[in-house]
Amino acid sequence: MALNLTINSSNPPLGALLTAEHVKGSVNLSVEEGKDTMLHVSDQVQFSDVNSITRYLARVAPALGLYGSNMMEQTEVDHWLEFSARRLCAQSDLSSALGDLDKALALRTFLVGRSVTLADLCVWAALKGNGESQAKPNSYPHLCRWFSFLSSQVPFSSVGSKWASKISASKISTIK
């Protein structure tokens, strides 16, 4: 059955959009712009928060390994989902969160395991939307290496260029 993701185009959920891009070859999924972000699974089941949307999409495309390949990786993915939704969305100083991320990435190419997972998608999305300007390469070398490595790849580059400008625009209008 076809899934439908509607996104709030004035405040685009980058993590959900990135996950949608990753699974679109494996899952019958349409994405459209609208007023509120929501994944329509069936008339009885809808998910409207980003972590539920990304978890569901990762679970219906298990072959992609976006939720990790064993229960320890799944648990690390859960850890980073909460980290991205809570610590990276704080309005204030992100230095302790960025420091923790930098440390975690010191010996890793991806946040969890040896391939891209929801952890990379959601942490990258949160940084793109919020903390990118605070992440200075001389303070967080590993974080910046990881961030630019992902940013250069499709679909990060396409989602970034298409939607990130809208995020900054919506932030400016909120401040006004």
Binding site: V41, V45, F47, D49, N51, S52, R55, Y56, R59, V60, N70, M71, M72, Q74, T75, E76, D78, H79, E82, F83, R86, A104
Partner: protein, 223 residues
């Protein structure tokens, strides 16, 4: 008897046993006892040989006695570590966020009671296989931990209304099966002290949770 009938096997879940005790180390703040993890500890003890211990870190001066005995009596055979399948080490420590360390060579430290609860539940082999049910379970857990445990009165009231309406349709939050969603949400309602003022379906469900017996370890900690 356990309510979960999964066929969990630690070697298949965690990789081959390399001889050392697989020790789950949890740093928790005594000001916020992780009630859901204590319930899960009890369930793990029904399934595995668990070597449980409680310690107090030097960052904490005094800990109320119920917190010292919250994992049950101390094992007298704790010297025979190889006889146990899992270690469960709870350290009362002045941490801002609950933290679990397990298999630290491959796994990052896991923050947050909800995420540690998910890990312990996976060890029981009871996670729903259906993507919708699994995601609904995670949704309820996040809602309980973020909005009930940390939210204001308005957010709490909204969560209680959602719980009440879901529990009007089925006995447990995911339907006919008791799950981690029930464990975490019930612990958050109990902790928030909302039991007496909770709506009718929530009250009935709390009673049903209590009747299962898995929550017995929680009540002494509620004062």
């Amino acid at each position: 008897e356990s309510v979960f009938r999964g066929t969990a096997d630690l070697d298949s879940l965690l990789g081959k046993d390399l001889g050392a005790l697989r020790d789950i180390v949890i740093n928790a703040n005594p000001a916020h006892p992780p009630l859901s993890l204590l319930v899960l500890h009890g369930l793990l003890c029904q399934r595995y040989q668990v070597l449980s211990s409680v310690h107090v870190h030097s960052s904490v001066s005094t800990v109320p006695p119920p917190l010292l005995s919250c994992l049950g009596p101390r094992h007298i055979e704790s010297y025979a570590r190889q006889r146990f399948q899992l270690g469960f080490t709870l350290i009362w420590k002045d941490v801002s966020k609950l933290q679990m360390k397990f298999n630290t060579q491959s796994m990052c430290p896991i923050e947050g009671e909800a995420n540690v609860a998910r890990f312990l539940f996976r060890l029981l082999g009871a996670e729903p296989q259906d993507p919708v049910a699994a995601t609904q379970m995670d949704f309820w857990i996040d809602m309980a931990v973020f909005q009930l445990a940390e939210g204001g009165n308005k957010e709490r009231a909204a969560v209680l209304r959602s719980l009440n309406s879901a529990l009007g349709r089925s006995p447990w939050l995911l339907g006919q099966e008791f799950s981690l969603a029930d464990i975490v949400c019930a612990c958050c309602v109990l902790r928030a002290g909302q039991t007496a003022s909770a709506p009718a379906n929530v009250q009935r469900w709390l009673k049903a949770c209590q009747n299962l017996g898995h929550f017995d370890c929680v009540y002494p900690l509620l004062q």
